[in-house]
């Protein structure tokens, strides 16, 4: 397959169209596996002396959503950078298509985290570093979307929002460092993170399955949004007019 050819919106449009159902199907299957395993194969309670009750099952959506939110921001920033450097139209459209899905996953990480925190910590919200940085990531997404939609001219909107995404990316480590480690003299001791190896396999498997499912879902959603964006922006070109005429008939 010629990957360079795919960089043109005209070629990418049908390509994305063919991929959407495949990713959608994969997402459905993986999420169902994760759900089934997590609810029926793993035990209801975990841990020894101080067992985690059933609410630990939130982990099956919480962690995948949190991972996706961070991963999608990387994708957003990467496409933005590519767009600014090489001035390719498709990369900007890609970045724009990623943002809403990323914001949704960030919100979900916060929401599910809050619902987890209530039974286990006794509060919906606390100013834990991890929670705070996720909240700021949410603000970054919202900022990107708000800036993009505040500008009428698409070209300016693309470029301005792309620059913002990159500035945000530069800042993310700094932000993360600052909230994770408000006391620079004793950073390491603050947050004990669980080692992935020590997680029980019957949790790890559904969690990973769910993560892959969300990942496939993101592909499908982003491509679907991308197709609409491409069509709107290329409405004047001959191929788009053909596509529009064709799809309007069906």
């Amino acid at each position: 397959m010629n990957w360079f050819k795919l960089a043109s919106p005209a070629a990418f449009y049908p390509f994305a169209g063919r991929l959407i159902p495949r990713f959608g199907l994969a997402a459905l299957v993986l999420v169902l596996i994760g759900f089934d395993w997590g609810f029926f194969l793993t035990s209801d309670q975990l841990g020894g002396s101080n067992p985690q009750k059933e609410y630990y099952r939130i982990i099956f959506v919480h962690v995948p959503a949190a991972w996706m939110s961070m991963w999608l921001y990387l994708v957003l920033a990467a496409w933005s950078a590519i767009g600014l450097v090489f001035n390719t139209r498709l990369s900007f459209m890609m970045a724009k298509a990623v943002a809403p899905t990323g914001a949704i996953f960030t919100f979900l990480a916060l929401w599910t985290g809050a619902l987890w925190g209530r039974p286990s910590w006794g509060t919906y919200w606390d100013w834990d570093p991890r929670l705070t940085s996720e909240l700021l990531l949410f603000f970054l997404y919202i900022g990107y979307i708000a800036l993009h939609s505040a500008i009428d001219d698409t070209r300016r909107a693309d470029r301005a929002a792309a620059l913002l995404a990159i500035v945000g990316l530069v800042m993310v480590p700094v932000i993360f460092l600052s909230i994770n480690c408000p006391d620079p003299t004793q950073c390491a001791s603050l947050h004990q993170r669980s080692d992935p190896g020590s997680i029980h396999l019957s949790i790890l498997i559904p969690m990973l399955s769910m993560t892959l499912g969300f990942w496939a879902y993101s592909f499908a959603a982003v491509f679907a949004r991308l197709r609409t964006i491409i069509l709107t922006r290329e409405a004047d070109s001959a191929w788009a007019r053909e596509v529009i005429a064709q799809e309007a008939r069906t």
Binding site: E54, I58, V61, T112, L115, Y217, A245
Partner: protein, 70 residues
């Protein structure tokens, strides 16, 4: 069955989390479909409106004509 829904008394939290997750994803899917359909109808109407004019003005697109005169 009841045990499945009550989740040991934590059903509100567990189903709140899962419900919001799959609910939001579902809403996103529906919203994507709706916006795709809306875009298609809007664009096809636009094309139909432009169609007669398109032929007229494609012949004489804003063309610069430069002439020298002193």
């Amino acid at each position: 069955m009841m045990a499945f829904f009550s989740q040991g008394g934590y059903g509100g939290y567990v189903w709140g989390a899962f419900g919001m997750t799959f609910g939001l994803l579902l809403i996103e899917i529906l919203q994507l479909r709706a916006s795709q359909r809306k875009t298609l109808t809007r664009l096809s109407r636009l094309l139909r409106l432009r169609a007669p004019r398109q032929t007229a003005s494609s012949a004489g697109r804003a063309q610069g004509t430069a002439g020298t005169k002193s």
